[in-house]
């Protein structure tokens, strides 16, 4: 993470284009949060932390964008891609504070992304997407509230994003209630989704150097908030381990699960095949 790293450009990448801002699936022309123009670039640990949060938002935006044209109903298609665009806006602001957003999104390799493994998990059925949204949006709401309260470089972004994320959390809550307390089949799938993703939730609260927020201290509050929704939905909070037993490491160390490579391939191939392409 040195200054020289930023100035290294691949073929054609010195020409920034409008289209270059858009991860393939999300159509970013209308991204909710504009990158903070001329925002102070961070350094050292603060920069690494901001980039990790930016990677979380970028990767989840890409995942949610995969629902475009494919959601169970048109209305939900728009809701999920709206959430994706909010996240993409956050990602653009955060990544712009740590370097060139296009280069960071399109030219990094898998191990250079430091997003948590939760956000890269495949969409699965609708219940899996909703479970991932519930776990992550409750976490993100707590995190951004803490960042906004703390002040510092990330506070303006956090203060704006916390309102967006409150809506994401509400959306996930509403669907968790309806799926959990819906039919036998929807209840079964929702419980299965909560159980399946539980092992990726512990990583959210691992300490992150340079962030200035005590993440482990948010874990209990997160658990209470998620448990309240899950119980109202007549579901059960998973009891198993909330970390993968995988010794290789976690997303924050650049270690990712199998499907992440395919996500990156889809997100990056156009830029890599046609550097600087615009439309």
């Amino acid at each position: 993470m040195t200054a020289t790293e930023q100035t290294t450009t691949g073929p054609g990448t010195s020409e920034r284009t409008a289209s270059g801002h858009a991860p393939a699936a999300a159509g970013a022309a209308t991204a909710g949060t504009s990158p903070a123009a001329g925002a102070a670039e961070l350094s050292g640990a603060a920069r690494a932390a901001a980039r990790a949060l930016g990677d979380d938002a970028l990767v989840l935006a890409q995942r949610l964008g995969e629902w475009a044209g494919d959601a169970p109903v048109l209305e939900e298609d728009v809701a999920l891609t709206n959430i994706a665009l909010d996240l993409l806006g956050q990602a653009r602001t955060l990544l712009s504070m740590t370097g060139d957003e296009d280069e960071l999104a399109y030219l990094r390799e898998e191990h250079e992304f430091h997003n948590v493994q939760l956000v890269e998990q495949p969409n699965g059925d609708f219940a899996v997407t909703i479970a991932r949204q519930l776990y992550f949006s409750v976490y993100q709401e707590l995190l951004y509230a803490a960042l906004a309260a703390r002040g510092g470089e990330l506070a303006p972004l956090a203060a704006k994003a916390v309102k967006e994320v409150a809506y994401h959390r509400d959306h996930a809550e509403q669907w968790t209630l309806r799926l959990g307390d819906g039919t036998e089949e929807s209840h079964r799938r929702m419980q299965q989704a909560l159980d399946g993703l539980w092992r990726h939730t512990g990583e959210l609260f691992a300490p992150l150097d340079g962030l200035g927020v005590d993440l482990p201290a948010l874990h209990e509050e997160w658990r209470e908030r998620v448990a309240a929704v899950v119980e109202r939905a007549t579901l059960t909070l998973p009891q198993g381990p909330d970390r993968t037993p995988w010794a290789a490491g976690a997303g924050r160390q650049g270690v990712h699960t199998e499907s992440f490579g395919r996500l990156l391939a889809e997100m990056q191939y156009l830029h890599r095949a046609h550097p600087g392409a615009s439309w």
């Binding site: 809701a79 809506y167 509403q174 819906g182 039919t183 929807s186």
Partner: protein, 106 residues
């Protein structure tokens, strides 16, 4: 799309989510106007879908959703008895007054 038959999401509700009419107030002081309609399983989800479909470009400060089934509409067959008698009663329009100078918003 909600119109397609056989979607798993629809089977639980007998084929189709109900239709809702959406009314959006664009800013304070104006009345809610009809923005369009959408499908949703219940009123709370209809409100959220309306937020995403009709106010995502900051078009509104307030939303109403109303079940389409609750709207009683005039029929095209009744068009003549309903509306035609008003056509030749020009005296019902306030066009026979001089507007005083300086009144801008009459």
């Amino acid at each position: 799309m909600t119109e397609q038959a056989g979607e798993p999401a629809e089977s639980a509700t007998g084929g189709q989510w109900p239709l809702w009419e959406v009314f959006v107030r664009s800013r304070r002081g104006l009345s809610h106007s009809h923005a369009g309609s959408l499908h949703a399983p219940d009123a709370q989800m209809a409100l959220r879908n309306a937020r995403d479909l009709y106010t995502r470009r900051a078009e509104g400060v307030s939303i109403w959703v109303v079940p389409s089934a609750a709207v009683t509409a005039s029929s095209p067959d009744e068009k003549d008895p309903f509306f035609e008698p008003a056509g030749d009663k020009a005296y019902r329009h306030p066009t026979f007054y001089e507007i005083p100078e300086g009144v801008k918003h009459l």
